[in-house]
Symmetry: C2
């Protein structure tokens, strides 16, 4: 299948087979897609928490208390659950780590090039954090780049997926101690293989018509 | 290449070859990836504007006036530029169009199933638009799912890409008359083939270490 066919064929799985696990080499491929996801000024404002044991998935599933119980079984029966987290602040420690990594990876021919890259990134981080004050939504948008890549990549390796915004983020953050790590949960993805009870598997995908979605200037 | 290798190999192109055009069948594949991108409650809160003539790209490039001139050449020299837009409001007309499309695509066995789907989507749209009042950032996040898929898909079909947040959105919205269409520009992607002057092509990609980015619960 080409990438368009993969995008067409993938869909949101509503029920997972609790007996099937994703092979470790496939999980590693999906983690590589997350790690290599692009982000504005290479800010990498994210952290990914992976739950694959019954105990770990149950901890994530606690966040379905209240109005989100419809997501509990997906989180418990999936092979792997990924909690996509955002960094609360892109502070000096984080920005220093990013520039040091870029330097050790060999991206700078001169100290001046390194200083320029650091300055540019700090300019945009400061713009969002201190001037526009939209850093929370800016960071969340970057995380959704990673999410979009992950969902398409899952389709490419025949892994079924269900992205979920429906969970109690404050409850999950408390359960996982995220605030103390400077993180907060943004969105969840359950990964695995559809169960026989996945009603969505047999339904046709629906998208608005091309003429509605696209304009050629 | 497998999908992890594609994600690793793709990078942000800083200079395009102005002579090379993306074949139409590849553009169609990338549009299919955009069209099939998932979104919360299948809200599809987006519209994609494609500029590929010199005149059309010049109109988009007007939005680099002011502090964004560093992006002008990318927009002019790329083969295709896509303006990813968000809908200002997910109003009744839009929600009616989505449910009608889902119905005509055959997703509902009964009128009750259709009514339930419509009710669920309206519940979440109302939640974001009227209760949480975060509909703008919610919609933008969905658009970044499409962005993430597009960038990975471009890598899969050997198309180079440069996503850009650095443009004057108000200016572009005025140039393209987006407000009258209930739209606003969110992010740009230039697509094409790297030029010989793309300094980023020869630099190694840099990402924070796995141990920094991932936790296994």
């Amino acid at each position: 299948m080409n990438i368009a066919q993969i995008a067409q064929a993938r869909y949101t799985t509503k029920a997972f087979d609790p007996e099937r696990k994703i092979p470790e080499e496939i999980v590693e491929q999906l983690c590589a897609v997350l790690r290599n996801a692009p982000s504005s000024v290479n800010s990498q404002p994210w952290h990914f928490i992976i739950a694959d044991s019954p105990e770990a998935k149950a901890r994530v599933a606690k966040a379905t208390q209240g109005g989100f119980s419809y997501n509990e079984a997906k989180l418990r029966n999936a092979s792997h659950v990924i909690v996509l987290c955002g960094r609360a602040r892109l502070d000096d420690a984080h920005l220093d780590a990013v520039i040091a990594q870029e330097n050790s990876d060999g991206r700078f021919a001169t100290p001046e090039a390194m200083a320029m890259q650091d300055k540019t990134r700090r300019f945009y981080v400061n713009l969002h954090q201190n001037e526009m004050k939209d850093d929370r939504s800016w960071i969340e948008r970057q995380i959704y780049i990673a999410l979009g890549g992950l969902l398409l990549a899952a389709g490419a390796v025949n892994v079924d997926a269900c992205p979920m915004e429906g969970f109690d983020a404050a409850l999950l953050d408390a359960e996982l101690g995220l605030a103390a790590q400077g993180l907060s949960s943004v969105v969840l993805v359950a990964l695995g293989y559809r169960g026989a009870d996945d009603f969505n598997a047999s339904l046709p995908k629906s998208r608005l018509a091309e003429a509605v979605l696209f304009t050629r200037l």
